[in-house]
Amino acid sequence: MRRAILILVPYLWLLALFLVPFIIVGRISLSDTALARPPYLPQFSWDEGIWAFLSQLDFENFWFLTTDDLYWKAYLSSLQIAITATFFALLIGYPIAYGMARAPEEWRPTLMMLVILPFWTSFLIRVYSWIGILSQEGYLNQILLWAGIIDAPLIILNTNTAVYIGIVYTYLPFMILPIYSALDRLDGSLIEAAEDLGCSRLQAFWLITVPLSKNGIIAGCFLVFIPALGEFVIPSLLGGSETLMIGKILWEEFFNNRDWPVASAVAVVLLLILVVPIVLFQRNQQRQAEEDR
C-alpha cells in the first residue's frame, strides 16, 4: 500500500504537468480553426456527447504541415542550427571545463560561480543585451572599428550568426557543468600512467581524458541540443528574416495568425522529434549512474 502511494506521487506529477497539457495540445491540433473564442472548433458540449465531439476531430492540420514546405524546411533548419550550435558549444565549453578542472583547488568555486552567474539575470534581458553588442552601432563594431581591424561595421545582428552566438552563449553553462563534473572526477594519476607507458601529452588526452569524459560530453550535448531545437526567443530577437526555426514559426502561427490548431500540430511534431534525443539522454544518464556504482 505504502509502495503504491510512493509510486503514485511521481505518476500524478507527470500526469498533471506533462500528460494533461499534452492531451490539451493534442486535442487542439486535431481541431479546426474558427473565428471564435477560443479560436477553434469543435467545442465539447454535454448535449451532443463525447462521440459527436470525437467524430469532428481529424488529422487535417498534420496533413497541412506536409503541403506547405515552410514547415519541414523550418524543422530541418532548426535541426541544423541546433546541431551546429551544440558543436560550437562543445568546442568552447570543453576547454573551459578542462581549465576549471585543472585549476588550483581554491579557484574552482570562484570559476564555478562565474559559469553560473549569468543565470542570476533574466534570460530575456541577456538576449536583449546581445542586440546592443552585435548591432551595427553596437559595442563589438565600435571596438573593431576603433582597433582598426575593420573599415565598415559588420552586419551580425539579424543574421544566423547572431542566432548561433545567442544559443551558444545561453546554453554554454549546460555544456560546461556536466563536462566539468566528469573531468573533476578524473584521477590525475591516470594521465601520469598513460605518459609513463609512452603517451605524449596529446595522446594521453585523446586516449584517456576524452573517453573518460564521454558521459559528460554526451550529457552536455543533449542539454544544449534539446532546448536549442525548440528555441524561439533567440531567433526572433537576434535572427533575421532568413532565420528559419520551428520555434519561431510556432510562435507566429499562434500569436500572429491565431491559428491554434496548426500551431498545436507543429508543437506535437516538435515534441515527437525531441523524444528521440530525450530518450537517448536518459539512457546515457542511467548508464553513467550504473558505472558510478
Binding site: 594519476s189 601520469e192 605518459e195 595522446q203 573518460l212 564521454k214
Partner: protein, 388 residues
C-alpha cells in the same frame, strides 16, 4: 648480466653466490643519483642526496610520510625534475628525458588502471604506443597475463575484479614493456594484511623471473625488509642508512634507524673503554653499568645510546649464572601475541625495558605474571652502541 660470485661459502662444489653488487667496486650502477636536491618553494624535499642502485636489485625506499621517498620515485619516473644534481640511468643523464621516453615504468599506488579499458587492453596499452607488431603484442600480453595469473580475467574491466587482481593488472601493465627499471609506489598498501604477505613473495618471484630492477617505496618496514635486497631509510630528504635488511636491523647506524625499524629498547648513558672493542656503558637513569661490544670507536666519557632488540633480552626468575649484563625489575605489562610474548619490565623505578620470549610450548600458565620480580639479561654483543 654478469653477476660475479661475491662470497663463496659452504661446499665448494655448490657456488653459493650472494647477490651483493654494491660491494663490488667493478660493478656499474644502473641508477645513480648525484648530489640531487629537489625543492618545492621553500620546502626541501630532497637534500643533496647521492645514491647508487644496481641492476637486478630490489631496492626499498623506506621512511615516514613526507621524508621524500615518493619525490625520489617521481624523479626517476620523470614526473618531477631535480632542482639541482644529476640522475643517471645506465650511464645516461635522464633529467631532460620526458616520462614517455624513459625505459622506466611505474606501478601507481592507486594502480591507475584505465577504467574504460579491459584488463587485456590495459596491459597492451604501453605496447601499443611502441607500435609493436600485432602478433608480438598478443604474445607479450598473454605472457604477462600468465605471469600474473590473470588469464581468466583478460576480458573484464577493472571495476569487475577484486583489489588483489587489480594490483596484479597494474604490475603486469608496468612490466609489459620490459622496462630497465620498475618503480613501485606503495604497491601493496591497498591490500589487506594476509593478501599483502602473499603478494610480497609473489613480487619477489616475479622480480627474480623477469630480472628487472625494482625500486619500491613504502612506509611499511616489514614489507621493505621482506622484499628488498637493500633498504634505504630516509628522513627529511636525506638518506640515513642504506644497507641490507639484516644490517639495518642488527647494525643500525643511528638511533633514528634503530627506532624506526622494529621494536627496540634505547638506553641513554656514557661509555668507557675496557678493552679492544669493549666498553663499559653507564646508564644515565640509574647509574647501573653494563658491558657492550662495539666495532665503532668511542672516547671515554662520551654520551651514547645503547639499542637492544627485545628478543635479545632474556627474562628469568633468578639471576642467570655467568650473565655479564643483568638487571632486576618488575613485570609491568604483558603482551601475548600468540607466537611470542612481550614483557614490559619496569627497572630502576621508572624505566620500561621490553623483553620478548618465544612461546615454543603450549602453556596454560605463564612463567611470569604482573608484578613478578624478574631478571633481564643480555650478552655484550646483543646491543648496539650508537653515538648520537
Amino acid at each position: 648480466m654478469t653477476l660475479r660470485p661475491f662470497l663463496q661459502q659452504g661446499r665448494p662444489d655448490l657456488p653459493a653466490t650472494v647477490f651483493a653488487p654494491w660491494a663490488d667496486p667493478n660493478q656499474k650502477p644502473l641508477i645513480r643519483f648525484q648530489n640531487v636536491t629537489k625543492r618545492f618553494g621553500d620546502f626541501t624535499a630532497i637534500d643533496d642526496l647521492s645514491l647508487d642502485i644496481y641492476e637486478r636489485e630490489f631496492f626499498a625506499l623506506l621512511g615516514p610520510s613526507g621524508c621524500g621517498k615518493t619525490t625520489m620515485m617521481r624523479m626517476l619516473a620523470g614526473f618531477e625534475n631535480p632542482t639541482s644534481g644529476r640522475i643517471e640511468l645506465a650511464g645516461q643523464d635522464i633529467v631532460p628525458v620526458p616520462p614517455n621516453k624513459r625505459a622506466v615504468n611505474m606501478m601507481f599506488q592507486s594502480y591507475a588502471l584505465f577504467p574504460h579499458l579491459t584488463v587485456w587492453d590495459n596491459i597492451a596499452f604501453g605496447l601499443r604506443r611502441d607500435s609493436m607488431p600485432k602478433i608480438d603484442l598478443q604474445r607479450r600480453v598473454e605472457e604477462m597475463l600468465k605471469l600474473t595469473r590473470l588469464e581468466k580475467f583478460a576480458r573484464r574491466k577493472p571495476h569487475q575484479i577484486s583489489g588483489g587482481q587489480r594490483q596484479r593488472v597494474a604490475l603486469a601493465r608496468s612490466l609489459a614493456k620490459a622496462p630497465k627499471l620498475l618503480l613501485l609506489d606503495e604497491p601493496l598498501g591497498a591490500l589487506d594484511k594476509k593478501l599483502r604477505q602473499d603478494t610480497q613473495f609473489e613480487l619477489m618471484d616475479i622480480q627474480e623471473k623477469t630480472g628487472t630492477t625494482f625500486v619500491i617505496v613504502t612506509h611499511d618496514q616489514e614489507e621493505a625488509m621482506t622484499v628488498a635486497s637493500r633498504v634505504a631509510v630516509m628522513d627529511e630528504g636525506r638518506l640515513i642508512q642504506v644497507a641490507t635488511p639484516a644490517d639495518i636491523y642488527e647494525a643500525p647506524n643511528s638511533v633514528y634507524v634503530a627506532d624506526f625499524i622494529g621494536d627496540v629498547n634505547i638506553l641513554e648513558g656514557t661509555v668507557r673503554a675496557t678493552g679492544p672493542n669493549r666498553y663499559h656503558f653507564t646508564w644515565a637513569d640509574t647509574g647501573e653499568s653494563v658491558t657492550a661490544a662495539s666495532e665503532r670507536p668511542f672516547s671515554d666519557g662520551q654520551t651514547a645510546h645503547l639499542a637492544i632488540r627485545p628478543e635479545k633480552v632474556q627474562i628469568s626468575a633468578e639471576r642467570p649464572e655467568g650473565a655479564e649484563n643483568a638487571i632486576k625489575g618488575k613485570v609491568h605489562d604483558i603482551a601475548y601475541l600468540g607466537n611470542i610474548s612481550t614483557f614490559h619490565v619496569r627497572v630502576a623505578g621508572e624505566r620500561i625495558i621490553k623483553a620478548q620470549s618465544a612461546n615454543t610450548r603450549r602453556i596454560t600458565n605463564r612463567a611470569f605474571t604482573w608484578e613478578d620480580d624478574v631478571w633481564l639479561s643480555w650478552t655484550p654483543t646483543a646491543g648496539v652502541v650508537l653515538s648520537d
